[in-house]
Symmetry: C2
Subunit: 198 residues, 2 copies
Amino acid sequence: MPRPQNLEARERILEAAQCLFHEHGFKGVSMDDVASRARLKKANLFHYYPSKNELGLAVLERASVCQREGVAKRFSNGHDPIKTVQGMFADSAERMEKGGCFKGCFMGNVAQELSDENEKMRRKISDYLDFWTGELRLFLERHKAAGYFKKSMNSAQTARALVSLLEGATLMCKAAKSPEALKNAGAMAGTCLKALKA
Amino acid sequence: MPRPQNLEARERILEAAQCLFHEHGFKGVSMDDVASRARLKKANLFHYYPSKNELGLAVLERASVCQREGVAKRFSNGHDPIKTVQGMFADSAERMEKGGCFKGCFMGNVAQELSDENEKMRRKISDYLDFWTGELRLFLERHKAAGYFKKSMNSAQTARALVSLLEGATLMCKAAKSPEALKNAGAMAGTCLKALKA
DNA sequence: ATATACTGACCATGCGGATGGTAATTGTAT
DNA sequence: ATACAATTACCATCCGCATGGTCAGTATAT
């Protein structure tokens, strides 16, 4: 009778892989790199994940679940909606600055690297981005219903644009090795949302 | 006395490499791939470019020059500034849609793939993004001076945020395989700029 | 005994790049 | 004009290394 697999090792592998993929991209990391970081031998990796591709998908799944939690939590508070959105940008800017403006957004990176070449991965990323955009849309919708925003505001459009803005600014920071873009983006988001206040 | 090198071949190589790098990323393309597309043998490539890295830099230079022209032209017209900015988004959306939402922005892709690992390339990209942002800033500044925008508008901040928004929306389109994000972003840019009108 | 955990050795492939050479083109001296 | 030297264009072949993945076998725990 099959007993449960070594969950500890599985988790260590996922963690190691996610970290490395984030740093060097999927193509830039070898199975040996992952194994080494997870304090395992390469051959042992294939005992847990049948291929690099499957490992990638598992990492994406893990990251997606983790990020969704953060998103859900962020939009479930009762604070001022503009502050909440600006907080999203400010937190990103802070993380970016603390990390020396490296790496950027994991999901965004994978999206750029793989969504033309791997439909399964693309779907996972796309689903996550849809979730994020959707939660933000509902958040805006709620505050619109409460009279905070103009009735004419297009919540779906605004939500998608805000997510785009955050992703783009993150990329700009990575390229410029400066958190300036994220700060500007946060300010812009604030300006824009204020213009949409009822 | 050294005679001029075969410019035709050099150009063919650059063109092939740029196209392939755009499609599959720098790491996803081999020198053999480039050579084959340029109707050359791999060994001959090294006659023109001493290493893959140097080729990458040359491609980046070429792309940068080409893009700068487009940017300069766009911001030198006398049209309504909001229309001009929205045109930037609309053109991107159209290109994206026509191409099936693949590839995305060349400079953005390279920025994400390499700016943590190759300082020379990062600089080239960063310089280009600075140029783009700078041109847009001057464009906004000019129209502010002409009384179109509020005196309180922060041109630098707005310019950077608009570029971020375009880059991010392009990435979203690539991930979602839909031009929706760029359309939303264009609308958002319009809304935001209208709020800044004098 | 049996299923899981782990490993060293191995393999085919693809990679960036080096080498040593041939073919074509050009400048120059006659 | 022509022969020759020099330079450029081009290529087959090879090299060392890293890669994703396999396999056969060992260790361990129940």
